[in-house]
Amino acid sequence: MSESMTEELRTLAREVFGDHSGAHQEAPRVERDLDPGLWDTLTELGLTRLTGSEERGGSGAGWPEASVLLWEAAAHGVPLPLLEHDLLAGWLRDTAGLPAGTGALATSVLVRENGPVPVAWLSAATTVVVLDARGAGTTAYEIAVADLEVTPGRTVAGEPADRVVLPPAADVPGAVEVDPDVVREWEHRGALGRAVQLAGAMDRVSWLCVEHAAGRTQFGRPLGRFQAVQQLVTEVACEAALCRAVVERAVQAVAADGFADPHARFLVAAAKAATGHSATRVVRHAHQVHGAIGTALEHPLQQFTRSLLAWRRDHGSTRTWEDRLETTALEDTGGDLWDTLTR
């Protein structure tokens, strides 16, 4: 897809998500579920399986387009399992050679240890595409959620993250063995998707801070006239800008070279580490700027800051990716940090 087509997609996404968040502003809730009507609309537009091949029911797009959609959904505060359904479940199904999906909502999980694991959006999904790395080999299978015993749960953002014990691959008919590299790609896909969402949400939070500081009057002046407040707002904007730069670069590298490329993986690790670190500062300062009202459920800020808190720990914590960046990611590019940074 060309640049003008990603811009068209951005315009479309803003229309759809803008209408949706406008219609749902009335009664904010702690629990944030998928709106089935919105999901159907996105499916009709070919946006829920954006990156799949056309033969397998997808729209044939790539990471640049998927990241536009993820960014805009995050920036509009619309809870959607786009990363899970398209970039993880759909991709894993196609990569492993599992039967093509029906189009029903799917999620995905990487299982490394026995026992219950949290799975994002599980209770909303029809199936889960499992990447099972518990045994000697790595396997993938798809299983109906109805066949599983699900313990409901939520992230701090209020999105479903339900716990489940997944059967060993040996017990699942149709499980297929996959290359161990698939695990690494699953991890990096999850990290990049969350990094895009984090950056999109931070972008929105920085503008919420600007609007609040410009619009709220205390001591007879808009808050934004106070230098102390300006310093907080600009720090939020700086962190958001920094994250945007690294996320865009990582998406570009993945689109050009794929996750098999060590440099693209380095940038993904940097993007998740940087966005996770910035999210902490952004949440703290944004709430400080907004004062007490920003902590109320009725205020739009909380849906973005809660998402930032949920996503920064998801698909590998900030510390996990910082450490990975310094060790594995750097080793894989040849160990020369300067050469890697400037490539």
Partner: protein
């Protein structure tokens, strides 16, 4: 809704990358030959006119100056790559820094044909070093309050005042002085300021050192006692000094020296940790992530400058983030060192000395070129808050 603070994503062309690798190979040879010892903050602390001339001989000084003025007509992205390579290894580049970064672009934009023909070829050759004469004892962040006065006389101007914090003035040939040429107008305090190219060897100029807290001398006070500056050395227009100074700030604020001042320390610490504790993380990964992002942000600003687009807000943003980060690197390495987490690497004494240098340079990072508080004000203006 999306932030407009960040310029569009720019990545390096194959041609620029080839140039980058050429510079890198040259610097490796120079280090191997003992031509310099890598250090921190070398664009301020390591003045070596011979090394600058060597770089000039390779075409790496005044790169963006057009060929008609002896330059190389290269892009800002080429210059960005070369300066990044020089800073990453801590090469001694202070002698060329101000001339290359600010003076040449200012001359190209505001200089007369005579000034361009006089100065640019010498800057490009590495034969002429420059300083900046903006701050004064009573004018730090509040630059418009400068008290140095220029009085018009037959054939020129006579300057009287004190300039301070001029890096390398004791070694430089000239500087641009910002002076008041008309009384302060309370309704427009930015009016009535002008810029002059002042010969630092002229009669009436005296230079006193400002010794830094580690005992080193890089900064100076420059006393101007009835210094005559001929009309032909007025930069731009009389009365337009404020506009001229502020329009060049994006060049001064967005470059790689705003996030790479401690990069040689980061490399040294990573190497020490890798030698003593291979395969384990040191905790420096956070800085690697942010430097990766800063490199990308800064290169995008260079792309905007190349395209002739205004990048003042983005440049201020890069400087706030970058100068904080390069300082944080010094603090992290110091903590690792104190905790013994870097013990066992080769040459621990050298690493400790580099760390000491970095933590003492650090306070200056977030002050020079506009304090971070002033820069956040610039960003706040870009956001529409002021």
């Amino acid at each position: 809704m999306s932030t407009t603070l960040v310029p569009p994503l720019v990545t390096e062309s194959a041609e620029t990358r080839a140039l980058r690798l050429e510079v890198r190979a040259f610097l490796r040879e120079e280090i191997a030959a003992g031509s310099f010892t890598p250090w921190v903050d070398t664009w301020l602390t390591r003045w070596d006119a011979g090394f600058t001339r060597k770089l000039a001989g390779r075409g790496w000084v005044g790169m963006t100056v057009p060929t008609e003025y002896g330059g190389h007509g290269r892009t800002f992205l080429d210059r960005f790559a070369v300066t990044e390579e020089l800073l990453a290894v801590g090469a001694p580049v202070a002698a060329q820094w101000v001339a290359d970064r600010q003076i040449a672009p200012s001359l190209l934009r505001f200089g007369t044909e005579h000034q361009k023909r006089t100065f640019l070829p010498r800057i490009v050759a590495g034969d002429m070093c420059w300083g900046i004469g903006m701050s004064e004892p009573e004018s730090g962040s509040d630059l418009a309050s400068v008290q140095t006065r220029a009085r018009q006389v037959d054939g020129g101007w006579v300057l009287q005042g004190r300039k301070t914090w001029t890096s390398g003035a004791h070694e430089a040939d000239a500087f641009f002085a910002l002076a008041r040429t008309a009384p302060v107008d309370p309704s427009n305090r930015h009016a009535g300021l002008s810029q002059f190219a002042v010969d630092l060897h002229a009669d009436g100029v005296s230079i006193e050192p400002i010794v830094a807290m580690n005992g080193s001398r890089h900064f100076n006070e420059v006393l101007l006692d009835d210094v005559f500056v001929p009309d032909e050395m007025v930069l731009g227009e009389i009365g337009q000094g404020w506009h001229q100074v502020t329009s060049e700030l994006a060049f001064e604020r967005s470059g790689p020296e705003r996030f790479l001042s401690t990069y040689p320390l980061l490399e040294a610490a990573l190497a020490a940790h890798r030698e003593s504790r291979p395969g384990t993380p040191s905790g420096l990964g956070r800085h690697i992530a942010r430097l990766t992002a800063l490199h990308q942000l800064s290169i995008s600003v260079a792309g905007s400058l190349q395209a002739g687009a205004g990048a003042d807000t983005a440049a201020a943003l890069v400087k706030v983030l970058g100068t904080t980060e390069e300082g944080d690197i010094a603090d992290t390495v110091e903590r690792l060192l104190a905790d013994g987490a870097l013990d066992g690497g080769v040459d621990p004494g050298a690493l400790a000395a580099l760390t000491d240098a970095a933590v003492l340079q650090r306070p200056g990072f977030t002050l020079r070129g506009g304090t971070n508080e002033i820069l956040r004000g610039v960003v706040a203006r870009g956001l529409g808050l002021r």
